[in-house]
């Protein structure tokens, strides 16, 4: 992109990570419209196809929550509280619109509160189903049709299947490049650290897809040259709720580990599944954005409509991909982490642990308050975990 002021690759990534909204605010100045989206369930392709810039709404674990308390109590997900807090402090005022989905209860409440108090020019709520039943898939497509209607109303443009397919191709291309980048974490030592990878992911979620593609290309070629990459250290996989700040990753890697793979939503969850190009593009989108996304907010069964449940089969069907990740990226242990008060992940923990113990993969569960300072008490746990798996 001409606009990218010379600096490229990882330098550019760091610039964007430091000042996420700068690029979209430039684009706004050029007359583009920017739509904020929460979590990974809103369909990006539909926005891109209408020449809107999707911009991921994230929290800030370095900023104390002060404004959100009057409408979202402090016993709910601190990440969502932080997002709302930033919104109420005007940090997201540059957004022309906001789209949120029924990711979980608190996510749903956050959406309505956002709509009530911040009432952006465009607001849409996608009531994403919580099962993957056939009926749910069909419903999801209907919901995307509704989304399409309000988007068209807002932009005054028609969302044609042709443009949508173009957008799908673009986003699939970006996803392929992300996976290519993740492949560079397979060698020992990995060619890129977990910390830098996270910065890349955050950057991608802050700029238009085409710019993201170019950025990824530059990053990949730089990383392949492999200068000043990480040292050999204990290889770990990290699972759990959102990580949108390098603080935790940096701390873990600083204690003598390389995070070589993740199962989180500012990471593999957002990029590891493509959208199938179906005749009616909405079919592929409806399927991918309901069935293929890995967040535990969705209820899954080993065998749909089974009449007797077998625990291990159930765990296998829900978590075997973690075994594959561990194998492919040669992880020696797994860090399970979740922000406090996250039900979707909280209920999942004993199950994941049972599975990992079953396949003999050492693991530790860390719970944190989505606050940089409150990460300190985790140091000793992580260090001891590394001493244990030695």
């Amino acid at each position: 992109m001409a606009k990218e002021k010379g600096s490229q690759g990882l330098t550019r990534v760091r610039e964007i990570y430091q000042d996420r909204s700068r690029r979209v605010e430039e684009l706004k100045a050029e007359g583009k419209k920017v739509i904020g989206y929460l979590c990974i369930y809103p369909v990006l392709e539909m926005m891109t196809a209408l020449d809107l810039v999707p911009y991921r709404i994230l929290g800030d674990m370095r900023e104390p929550i002060t404004k959100a308390d009057f409408c979202l109590p402090n016993i709910v997900c601190p990440f969502l509280r932080s997002c709302l807090d930033l919104g109420l402090k005007g940090k997201y005022d540059f957004l022309d619109g906001v789209v949120m989905a029924h990711i979980c209860d608190v996510g749903e409440k956050t959406a309505h509160i956002w709509h009530t108090y911040l009432n952006p020019p465009y607001f849409h709520f996608i009531d994403t189903p919580h099962t993957v039943h056939k009926a749910a898939q069909k419903q999801h497509k209907e919901l995307l049709k509704d989304f399409k209607k309000t988007l068209e109303l807002f932009t005054g443009k028609e969302l044609s299947p042709g443009r949508l397919k173009e957008a799908i191709k673009a986003h699939n291309q970006q996803r392929a490049l992300v996976r290519e980048l993740y492949d560079l974490r397979k060698p020992d030592p990995p060619l890129i650290s977990g910390t830098e990878t996270l910065q890349v992911m955050v950057a991608l979620m802050s700029i238009p897809v085409d710019e993201g593609i170019n950025l990824l290309r530059q990053v990949i070629s730089e990383v392949k040259k492999g200068k000043d990459g990480p040292q050999k250290k204990t290889r770990l996989l990290i699972w759990g709720s959102i990580i949108d700040d390098i603080a935790l990753i940096k701390m873990i890697e600083g204690l003598g580990a390389n995070l070589v793979m993740d199962d989180t939503c500012v990471g593999s969850r957002a990029y590891f599944s493509d959208v199938e190009l179906t005749d009616d593009p909405l079919d592929g989108l409806a399927y991918r954005y309901l069935v293929e996304l890995k967040c535990p907010r969705t209820f899954r069964e080993a065998v749909f409509g089974e009449t007797k449940k077998d625990y291990m089969t159930d765990l296998e069907s829900r978590f075997s991909y973690l075994k594959d990740y561990a194998k492919e990226w040669d992880a020696k242990g797994v860090i399970l982490q979740s922000v406090r008060y996250c039900d979707s992940h909280g209920y999942e923990v004993p199950g994941v642990k049972d599975y990992l113990d079953h396949i003999g993969l050492p693991n530790i569960y860390l719970e944190h308050d989505y606050s940089e300072a409150a990460l300190a008490p985790l140091r000793t746990r992580v260090q001891a975990f590394l001493e244990v798996i030695g």
Binding site: P377, T380, R381, Q383, A384, E387, V388
Partner: protein, 269 residues
Amino acid sequence: MTKVVILDRDEEIQARVVGPTGAEHRRLANKVMEEALEQANLSFAEISYVIATGYGRINVSFADRQITELTCHARGVVSLFPTVRIAIDIGGQDAKGLKISNGKLIDFVMNDRCAAGTGRFLEVIAATLGLKLEELGEISLKSTNKVKISSTCTIFAQQEVISRISEGTPLEDIVAGVHDAIASRVVKMVRRLKIEPDVVFTGGVAKNVGVVYAIKENLGCEVLVPEEPLLSGAIGAAILGKELTLKALAKGETIQRKERHLEEVTFFS
């Protein structure tokens, strides 16, 4: 508390010193270290390896290496009780449960998120009751009908204790209740490791016979307590230090060491 243990190569204790820990970690580490050297009557240069552990480990400027208290406690406890499977350690800052399988730490749980269930809890209560920490144990054993402390938070438990007193509840019953509160909290946490004998109880709080009793009650099994429960972590650290040194020597590697001097650090000029 800051503890120093100096071992010789036969793991004989040459010096053991316990001093308070305050805001000034580093300065105290230095002070206690000097005492220990005096006791062992060694010069600092003669110490082959120094391992720092515990909450303030990063602040021990002269340590050759930092290792977490979890690993060190495990090692220390194993050296004292080779048959240990579960070690419970309650210190001033935190409480830990260690699962040990043939001498190695395999799993652990810890609480450092909240003062309840740590020694701090007892300190606060003792102060509230105008008692010395050491007195609590004996007093509680007199209790015939211990009270139930319903608040978890230390600070609110303290209020509860105060109102109990003004209600005229016998002191021993209150203290016994407090001991049960901390014990049940810690035991509940440690149960996640699936309790197997032998269970060893260490840390400053293990000096309190009342808590030892409460822990036994809550576990429903015996617990072993070392003579000097406070030192197991330091002993473990020293043993690990020795092992690292011998391993290095065996391989003929040179050992990375910090300079052997206690730089004076003064924050509070």
